[in-house]
């Protein structure tokens, strides 16, 4: 196990002192990286935060082991995220040369790439959920987390049958949106 696995542990445990250490040690490096690639200081901090959240999900859901130093790995995740932002905002004409800049050759890194791709996919599902109406969001979230659906219906002032009908309707609409966006 790489000695820097401790940083992954800090994130996984949501250890505030450890997280402060990550910021103290790596934030400047990441912010500079983003600023050198058409970003602002705020962009740098935003990308760092989102990259750390992605790493948290990777560590939490999967058997993730660091095989290089944390700084290199964090840079890779941040570069990847920043490239996506540039593509989305069309602030960068994406060419083969640009893609090569972020090309991953190492086998371990290819595994990370697969994990990060999965995290991206999940991020997009959650972003799509946020585009649904408030009542649909509430129904989906509560039905997926709480056990007793009759109680959910009662607390929402609707019948159990109506809740189930709305849930299937809202889920179908969400899946449709996700499909249209090309996530699946």
């Amino acid at each position: 196990m790489h000695i820097d696995q401790i940083y992954i542990r800090y994130l996984k445990d949501n250890d505030s002192k450890g997280i402060q250490l990550i910021y103290n040690k790596y934030a400047r490096q990441i912010v500079t990286l983003i600023q050198r690639n058409s970003g602002t200081e705020d962009d740098g901090y935003d990308i760092l935060q989102e990259a750390l959240v992605d790493i948290y999900h990777m560590a939490r859901d999967r058997d993730f082991e660091l095989t290089t130093n944390f700084g290199s790995f964090l840079s890779l995740v941040c570069k990847r995220k920043w490239l996506n932002v540039l593509k989305k905002n069309q602030r960068l004409q994406v060419t083969k040369a640009t893609d090569d800049l972020f090309h991953i050759e190492d086998h371990a890194q290819q595994e990370w790439e697969q994990m990060l791709h999965q995290v991206d996919k999940e991020n997009k599902v959650m972003a799509m959920l946020d585009t649904l109406g408030k009542s649909c969001q509430e129904i989906i979230k509560r039905c997926l987390v709480e056990k007793h659906q009759e109680q959910i219906a009662e607390s929402m002032g609707i019948s159990y049958a109506y809740l189930r009908k709305k849930k299937s309707e809202c889920m179908a609409s969400l899946v449709q949106k996700i499909k249209q966006s090309g996530v699946f």
């Binding site: 994130l11 949501n14 505030s16 997280i19 402060q20 990550i22 910021y23 103290n24 934030a27 602002t40 200081e41 705020d42 901090y45 935060q49 750390l52 959240v53 948290y56 999900h57 939490r60 859901d61 996919k121 999940e122 599902v125 959650m126 959920l129 946020d130 585009t131 649904l132 109406g133 408030k134 009542s135 649909c136 969001q137 509430e138 129904i139 989906i140 979230k141 997926l144 987390v145 009662e154 929402m156 002032g157 609707i158 019948s159 159990y160 049958a161 109506y162 189930r164 009908k165 709305k166 849930k167 299937s168 309707e169 889920m171 179908a172 969400l174 899946v175 996700i178 499909k179 699946f184």
Partner: protein, 239 residues
């Protein structure tokens, strides 16, 4: 009548049994598209469930705190870019939507929603409610209201009955009755609160109390179809 979405959801929730389950599984075995839909829906549900229980919010709070901790004492220079880009974007959006709306029919903003049936698998149909659904959707508002009021009498805690009963007055353009019926629902905390706000705003608009209408529309979150409709109605009122 159950549709495909209901069946998929019932299957995923484990509510299909016996012949119904066998029939659905046979349908899935024969229909690749259905199989893909079930798989996608299951994956989406799993993702949402996992994320909602991931305690991501607590992590984000610590990340924000760490950023503040690092930046304490260092005041960032606010660039002109940060100030003017959002303003420019907002102006562009305003121009775009102004042009767009000039050429868009907005009659749908005044339509009532279809009343939702609640026939689902494994649940005995509430015949009275389904009759109310039929009457409401056929625009027989008085008949629908009569049935809904009898349901309210039997169980006054179900907001959904009161919401659709209130909408029957909107359907009849009986604004003076619609107003007191919709107000408590709009002010409440049920899942119908935002929809009730929208139709209450419509009522205020119809009785020329435009400021009240605008205030209500601004309270509706911008996400989803309702948010979009509220935004468009607000534009109509502000023209």
């Amino acid at each position: 009548m159950e549709n495909k979405a209901d069946k998929i959801q019932a299957y995923i929730d484990g509510l299909l049994t016996g012949d119904e389950l066998a029939q659905f599984e046979k349908w899935m075995a024969e229909d690749e598209e259905l199989r893909a839909e079930v798989h996608a829906q299951r994956e989406v549900q799993e993702t949402i469930r996992k994320r909602l229980t991931s305690k991501e919010d607590a992590l984000r709070a610590n990340l924000r705190q760490a950023r503040v901790g690092l930046q304490t004492g260092r005041k960032g220079v606010v660039s002109l870019y940060k100030v003017y880009l959002p303003v420019a974007a907002a102006v562009c959006l305003l121009i775009f939507f102004s042009i767009f709306y000039l050429y868009t029919d907005d009659s749908y903003l005044y339509d009532l929603p279809a009343m939702q049936s609640e026939v689902v698998r494994g649940q005995e149909a509430n015949v009275s409610y389904e009759n109310a659904v039929q009457a409401f959707n056929a625009q027989s508002y008085e008949e629908a209201r009569g049935i809904l009021y009898s349901l309210i009498e039997a169980d006054s805690s179900v907001v959904q009955y009161r919401y659709y009963a209130a909408l029957t007055y909107v359907g009849e353009q009986n604004w003076s009755q619609a107003l007191p019926e919709l107000t408590p629902i709009a002010e409440g905390k049920s899942i119908f609160a935002d929809e009730a706000k929208y139709y209450l705003a419509l009522v205020y608009h119809k009785i020329d109390q435009h400021e009240e209408a605008k205030t209500l529309l601004r309270e509706i979150p911008s996400q989803g179809k309702l948010g979009e409709k509220a935004g468009k109605l607000l534009d109509v009122l502000e023209k």
